[in-house]
């Protein structure tokens, strides 16, 4: 075995490590090193997420307005929270959000799963179709919102033209984003168009994770395709589906850009989702304290619902 000093040049003195340094090196525990590695991340998390959250909670109990730097900031107790929870307009935006949330999730899960089921079958051009289907989710929501306003245009819009062609109605006789009864569906359609591929990809991952041996065993037991679908496919894909619902639910609860581009919250306030309403309170009316209380309420709602949902998801996974 070669001595470690054998490779050194003649006359070169070996590096001397002082006893204190050596001791210090030995003194740094694995735990301390681990903390050193995660400290920057924790610091950033505290600075960027936790501190603003605490500050928002603090502001929610005051009458602070960011556009009135000279005004006296007063503690108002629960006044902002009571105002938010008793404001009829806010409950209307909650209803609009619930309508948007429920229908987008239902449609995206159904269509996304159906597409994944089809794509999972081996056929010619499979990869090409997968690429084409996922294209919408690669676009910016602002861009999607903007070009769908053109598709929905009663005089020149392709959507109106297609509906007119299929139903025999005059394309300019209806306005998807200008009609109170149609506008809530207009935003559901666009979000479904854009984000169904995302659900499809998650479902596809779920479908491809099912071992083929299970189906082979079912075939041996002479289980019908229908039975295989309900007793193998659905239970095994369910955790993935639930994950997709969680992602889409959280995303759509805070939906802003797409709907602002499409309808601006109108007509009237029919499509004014909570995030749009919150932005107006915070950055148009500059009611910072009130908007902070509003944001805290929304945060608690989403966090609470998501926590319950994650527990349910874990139970499903453990089955």
């Amino acid at each position: 075995m070669l001595d470690s000093s054998a490779g050194r040049a003649v006359g070169e003195t070996p590096p001397v490590v002082s006893k204190s340094v050596s001791k210090r090196r030995q003194g740094v525990s694995d735990r301390a090193i681990a903390w050193l590695f995660v400290a920057p991340s924790i610091f950033l998390l505290l600075a960027v997420n936790i501190f603003p959250l605490i500050w928002t909670v603090r502001l929610s109990f005051t009458n602070f307005r960011v556009n009135r730097p000279n005004a006296e900031v007063q503690f108002v107790g629960l006044k902002n929270y009571i105002s938010v929870l008793t404001d009829g307009d806010i409950w209307q935006t909650m209803q609009a959000t619930a309508h948007f949330l429920i229908w987008t999730i239902v449609l995206q899960v159904l269509i996304g799963f159906a597409l994944a089921y089809l794509i999972n079958k081996k056929f010619r051009g499979n990869d090409l179709w997968t690429t084409i289907i996922v294209l919408p989710m690669m676009l910016s929501p602002a861009v999607v919102g903007n070009f769908w306003t053109f598709l929905y245009q009663p005089q020149i819009g392709l959507f109106n033209y297609a509906v007119g062609y299929l139903t025999g109605t005059d394309p300019s006789a209806f306005s998807m984003i200008g009609d109170v009864s149609l506008a809530p569906w207009a935003i559901v359609i666009v979000d479904t168009w854009m984000w169904t591929p995302f659900v499809m990809l998650i479902c596809l991952a779920g479908l491809r994770s099912i071992p083929s041996s299970i189906y082979e065993a079912a075939e041996c037991d002479r289980a019908s395709k229908w039975r295989q679908f309900w007793t193998i496919t659905i239970p095994m894909v369910l955790p993935f589906l639930m994950l997709a619902v969680l992602f889409r639910g959280i995303e759509n609860f805070k939906m802003f850009d797409l709907v602002v581009q499409l309808t601006g919250g109108g007509p009237g306030s029919i499509t004014e989702l909570t995030s749009i309403n919150l932005k107006r309170e915070a950055f148009e009316k500059w009611r910072t304290g009130y908007a902070s209380a509003y944001a805290v309420i929304l945060f608690v709602t989403v966090f609470g619902l998501a926590s319950i949902y994650v527990k349910a998801l874990n139970k499903v996974k453990q089955r």
């Binding site: 730097p69 929905y152 148009e284 500059w286």
Partner: protein, 445 residues
């Protein structure tokens, strides 16, 4: 030792000299940033400002933001103490908040020192763009761009004999510039869905936008002329019976009727640019829009020149005639470290020859020497309409809480006019309640 002392002294002298030179240079030539909306007049201002750069040695950079995001972006900038803008051509409604929160530099001393008199400017623009509190000689801006809502119309369609005859037979008056809003509606109805030169056209492009200020700027034109008042003239902030008077209700009902009968399909969220598009593409006979659009229309190859005419808001049911003020003043941002150079720009901009050139380039000067010049009215096809409209202006609240007041009217008007929810009376009663709550919050009662 003496040698090294000399060397040190020389080096210190050189450094001091360079620093002084640098300081002197920076005092002479600053890089100023002017913030405004991204629209046609901004391009004219870029061209105009080249003269200032050549004369002063300062460099001007521009930060232009499209109208729908202009208030959001710039008020964020002011409220957060951002140093992006040295000069701000801010909307007229910002003046109260910017003055009370110390965001703009008060210009009275500067005007006195430089001999700039507010009496040299159109009085409505001084009140609208410069004063806070309104009606007091406290100036926070120099009137920079006079603007007002008015109408452009298809003069070539109006002049067709067959259309004139049909219109006269149907409505009993000539197909001409309307004198009242009722007549305007007749014209819009007449053109709605009509086929002209093989193309289906529509009546009137009006403001319906929800997000920023559009529908308020549009509906107010009709409401003012029908008798709407913001408050009791004798008792400020008394709204009941003024905002929601019977006359106001009739005005709002009229605006909804005009939207229902005569707006092009799909114009439920239309503001300045959408209306320009509708008009320039030959879709509509009438277009409500701010005067800044008129130079562009006049120069347009499809609808410009003799094909278009311009008229101020017609009268309401009692013969009253008002128009919504637009336009902005130019202010020095209080947080700017280049205030001297910014004030130099304002001094230069206030000069009559610069203002005359401003008008020539497409900017609406508010200087009386320019607009009262005998040749002004005939200098452009729309110049007389601009003068007539500026003589009948009214403006929205300019209170520090204007944004909340505006959002309330946006919601109430859009809910009624576009979404068709409730009645005009309910919408205006609701608006009174909203505005009262805001003023209560402000400690006005």
């Amino acid at each position: 030792m003496p040698h090294s002392y000399l060397k040190s002294a020389f080096a210190a002298g050189v450094v001091t000299g360079l620093v002084s030179l640098g300081a002197a240079t920076s005092a002479q030539a600053e890089d100023l940033t002017l913030c405004w909306a991204a629209w046609d007049p901004a391009n004219a201002l870029v061209a105009l400002s080249k003269d200032f750069e050549a004369k002063s040695g300062h460099k001007i950079s521009f930060e232009f933001v499209p109208w729908p995001n202009f208030a959001d972006r710039m008020l964020n900038e002011l409220n957060s103490g951002g140093k992006l803008c040295d000069l701000m051509i801010g909307d007229s409604q910002w003046i109260g908040g910017a003055a009370e929160n110390g965001q703009y530099v008060k210009l009275n001393d500067f005007f006195d020192k430089e001999g700039i008199k507010m009496s040299d400017f159109i009085p409505a623009t001084v009140t609208g763009y410069s004063e806070w509190p309104k009606g007091t000689p406290n100036y926070w801006a120099l009137p920079a761009f006079g603007d007002v809502v008015g109408w452009s119309y298809r003069k070539d369609w109006f002049s067709r004999p067959e259309l004139q005859a049909e219109f006269k037979q149907k409505y009993g008056h000539d197909l001409a510039v309307p004198k009242t809003f009722e007549e305007l509606k007749h014209i819009a109805e007449f053109f709605q869905g009509r086929v002209i030169d093989g193309k289906t056209v529509y009546g009137a492009a009006i403001y319906t936008e929800r997000g920023s200020e559009g529908i308020t700027m549009g509906a107010m034109d009709v409401l003012y002329s029908y008798g709407f008042e913001y408050q009791n003239p004798e008792k400020p902030y008394e709204l009941e019976g003024y905002v929601n008077s019977d006359k106001s209700v009739k005005g709002l009902e009229f605006y909804k009727e005009l939207y229902n009968c005569c707006a092009p399909p799909g114009s439920s969220d239309a503001y300045m640019s959408e209306n320009i598009d509708a008009y320039k593409s030959g879709q509509v006979a009438l277009q409500m829009n701010f005067a800044f659009t008129w130079p562009g229309i006049n120069a347009d190859p499809n609808v410009g020149g003799d094909k278009s005419g311009y008229f101020p808001n017609p009268a309401g049911q009692d013969g009253k005639q008002f128009a919504q003020l637009g336009g902005q003043g130019i202010s020095v941002v209080a947080i700017s470290e280049k205030q001297d150079a910014a004030l130099e720009y304002i001094k230069w901009f206030a000069q009559p020859d610069v203002q005359a050139k401003w008008w020539q380039l497409g900017g609406y000067s508010a200087l009386r020497a320019v607009v009262e010049d005998p040749g002004f009215a005939k200098s452009q096809p729309y110049a007389q309409t601009f003068l007539d409209s500026m003589a009948i202006v009214k403006d929205f609240w300019a209170e520090p809480s204007y944004a909340s007041l505006l959002q309330a009217s946006q919601k109430r008007f859009h809910n009624y006019v576009i979404a068709g929810q409730g009645t005009a009376k309910e919408a205006l009663d609701g608006l009174v309640a909203d505005w009262k709550a805001i003023f209560e919050d402000e400690g006005k009662y």
